[in-house]
């Protein structure tokens, strides 16, 4: 298992609502961009296999969409399949490609992700996304994903005391980052001016404590990333980025089942002990409904593989799965950037802002760059790749959000209400 896996290129076709181009056309744009930046890849000959990432057959109004894309891109008769796991789809697709290469079965694997969510109105999109919750239990109550996540965040607020102002600060950070990102939906819809906490608190309430600017966008878009083995990586580029750790983890389908979960009981005793007296302790105090166990499990596995024991110090940037701002705050805890209950301190101290010790969501991510589900984490991976190879200034047309000398980045993605999570560690040469 000494084989190393590298990222040698990536591309993004901008996120917006709507994009009028077809799914295969947006994918072609992303791949074309990647090939311009990494001209050494002899496309399509050098592609051994393709993993496709898209979430919803309902949204696309098409099953097996990847068959359309695969021949459109001139990739026949190469092996290909689709991965689907809700919001975790793109991170799982990259991990699939990683395992393909690690196993020695394929040398070069292309990952292509896309989503088109603009063909239905917003309540209908919410309905079809909510079909990824338990349709016999959670769905008919009408919470849909904004409500499920809001209820989880209310639980965390109740236990650990972060405020709506803390959540608004996260929104401000991510939206203002996205004003520099020429692939971002916020910049397309809003322009390049900054917002402040008041704009967030004045935006329309969606599901308390979440307001419009705390929530992921509905988006169209595509992205791709190319993974290769070590030998080929050196052929294609002088600056490969290595994948040094991956991890996967799971939690319950229904968030309400996390209270006394016997499978988590006793797994994280330290976190169980950080439990305030205001609440009756459930049988499994961590993660219960306040934190995300799947994210902890996937992060720990990736850290172990990559030899990371102090993520806050050893990481230079992180792109997290942030469908709602409280999720980002809780992820700081579950990914061990801080202790349980201290996520709010990182927000208040600016640790994850641009210029902070560990900038998170420099791209703007789900609430500001956009969230075409199957493409989102792939685009975030591409942004990490650009940061680690010093390409960001060129790709964004500005140095404003280009890190100098970044060595190690973390990508985290999950699906459902944290029903499954994946983490990937990227390291520059």
């Amino acid at each position: 298992m000494a084989r190393r896996v590298a990222v040698v290129g990536g591309g993004i076709s901008r996120f917006d609502l709507p994009r009028y181009e077809l799914q295969e056309e947006m994918c072609a744009e992303a791949i074309h961009e990647m090939l311009m930046d990494t001209p050494g890849i002899d496309y399509p000959r050098d592609v051994d296999a393709v993993i496709y990432s898209y979430f919803s057959d309902h949204l696309e109004e098409q099953l097996c969409f990847h068959w359309i894309i695969h021949d459109y891109l001139g990739l026949l008769p190469k092996p290909a399949y689709r991965v689907e796991s809700g919001g975790a789809t793109p991170v799982d697709a990259i991990i699939n490609a990683f395992m393909f290469i690690k196993s020695g079965i394929f040398n070069n694997v292309l990952v292509v992700g896309f989503e088109k969510m603009s063909e239905l109105d917003t309540p209908k999109v919410n309905e079809f996304i909510a079909a990824a919750s338990d349709t016999d239990f959670d769905f008919p109550v009408g919470g849909y994903y904004s409500g499920y996540y809001a209820a989880l965040e209310v639980r965390h607020m109740f236990l650990y005391g972060e405020t709506v102002e803390d959540l608004a600060s996260i929104a401000v950070k991510n939206h203002n980052n996205a004003t520099f990102n020429p692939y971002s939906q916020w910049r397309s819809q809003h322009g390049t001016s900054y917002i402040g906490v008041d704009e967030v608190l004045d935006s329309r309430l969606i599901a308390w404590p979440y307001r419009l600017l705390n929530c992921a966008m509905i988006s169209d878009g595509a992205a791709c990333i190319m993974l290769t083995n070590e030998e080929n990586a050196k052929k294609y580029t002088d600056a490969p980025v290595w994948i040094t750790g991956v991890g996967l983890g799971t939690d319950t389908m229904r968030p309400g089942d996390r209270v006394d979960n016997p499978m988590y009981k006793g797994l994280y005793l330290k976190d169980e002990s950080i439990y305030p007296d205001v609440a009756t302790k459930p049988a499994a105090p961590y993660p219960e409904m306040a934190n995300f166990g799947s994210i902890r499990v996937s992060g720990d596995a990736a850290y172990k593989m990559a030899g990371i024991d102090n993520p806050l110090k050893q990481l230079d940037l992180a792109e997290l799965f942030n469908p709602y701002d409280g999720v980002e705050l809780v992820e700081y805890e579950d990914l061990r950037f801080c202790k349980r209950g201290e996520g709010k301190n990182l927000v208040r101290e600016g640790v994850t802002e641009w210029g902070g010790e560990l900038p998170c969501q420099v791209s703007g991510a789900h609430t500001a760059a956009g969230h075409p589900v199957g493409a989102t984490s792939i685009a975030q991976a591409v942004q990490i790749y650009w940061q680690l190879t010093g390409l960001t200034a060129k790709k964004w047309g500005t140095k404003a959000r280009a890190l100098s000398d970044a060595k190690r980045g973390l990508l985290q993605g999950h699906g459902g209400t944290g029903c499954q999570s994946g983490v990937i560690i990227f390291e520059g040469g």
Binding site: E21, E33, P123, F137, L205, V259
Partner: protein
């Protein structure tokens, strides 16, 4: 030959007009637009494009079995709340599961027990927007209720309470609606005690903001749905 009866024991038959509705549209375009819009993969490199957009509807009608949980939902029709109890680890599940998930229990089949119509709020959210099927009833409050003695929490709505008066730990009573249909929305809860202001999790400022939000949402629903609007929160 295995035992394979398949007969209707009891039913409330659906209006067969739904069959017609499910055939509606049938993926055939009902309209089109020729539009001008942007094309380009990056915001700083856009040009003008033209696109043909069609409107294409299609409906569907699912015949869904509740499987081994059927007794739970049939219980709603009879206004009885059941949980599933594992005979090995004694855990009581509501929402129920027909097989225990405890690693020690090796996917043991559970048994039905009747549950008390009371419990407490584990967490909640105040919904000001939603998915298509639920828009008319905005604004409303969703809760996850731990039914007394259970190890899982049940998604329900809470009624007859101001949204800022709900908090984890609030004791509630469960009720069935008058005409249950065999779904989770047949059951709802109301406070079983006077909410304690010292336990509210919203600040005074946030409560005022929320009151304004509730008014706005209510007006929006009434504007959109007219007499069909059924807002679930009274301020």
């Amino acid at each position: 030959m295995a035992y394979r009866p398949r007969k209707i024991l009891k039913s409330r038959e659906y209006n067969r007009e739904w069959n017609e509705w499910a055939l509606k549209g049938n993926w055939s375009p009902v309209g089109w637009r020729w539009i001008e819009g942007p094309t380009g993969y990056r915001l700083d490199q856009l040009s003008k494009g033209n696109y043909l957009i069609i409107q294409r509807p299609h409906g569907s009608l699912y015949h869904h079995s509740y499987g081994l949980l059927s007794k739970f939902f049939k219980g709603f029709i009879e206004k009885k709340l059941y949980g599933a109890k594992c005979p090995r680890c004694k855990a009581v599940f509501c929402p129920p599961r027909a097989h225990c998930w405890n690693p020690e229990c090796k996917v043991q089949r559970t048994e039905w027990v009747e549950l008390p119509m009371k419990g407490e709020v584990f967490t909640f959210s105040v919904m000001a927007f939603s998915a298509t099927p639920f828009l008319k009833t905005l604004p409303f409050i969703i809760t996850y209720i731990r039914v007394e003695g259970c190890c899982t929490t049940l998604p329900t709505r809470i009624l007859q309470v101001n949204p800022w008066e709900v908090y984890p730990g609030l004791k509630v009573n469960l009720h069935f609606i008058d005409n249950p249909k065999g779904e989770i929305m047949d059951i709802y809860c109301t406070p079983a005690e006077k909410p304690d202001p010292s336990k509210f999790i919203m600040s005074k400022e946030e409560i005022e903001r929320l009151k304004e939000d509730m008014k706005k949402v209510k007006n929006w629903v009434i504007r959109k749905f007219g007499s069909e609007a059924q807002p679930s929160i009274e301020i």
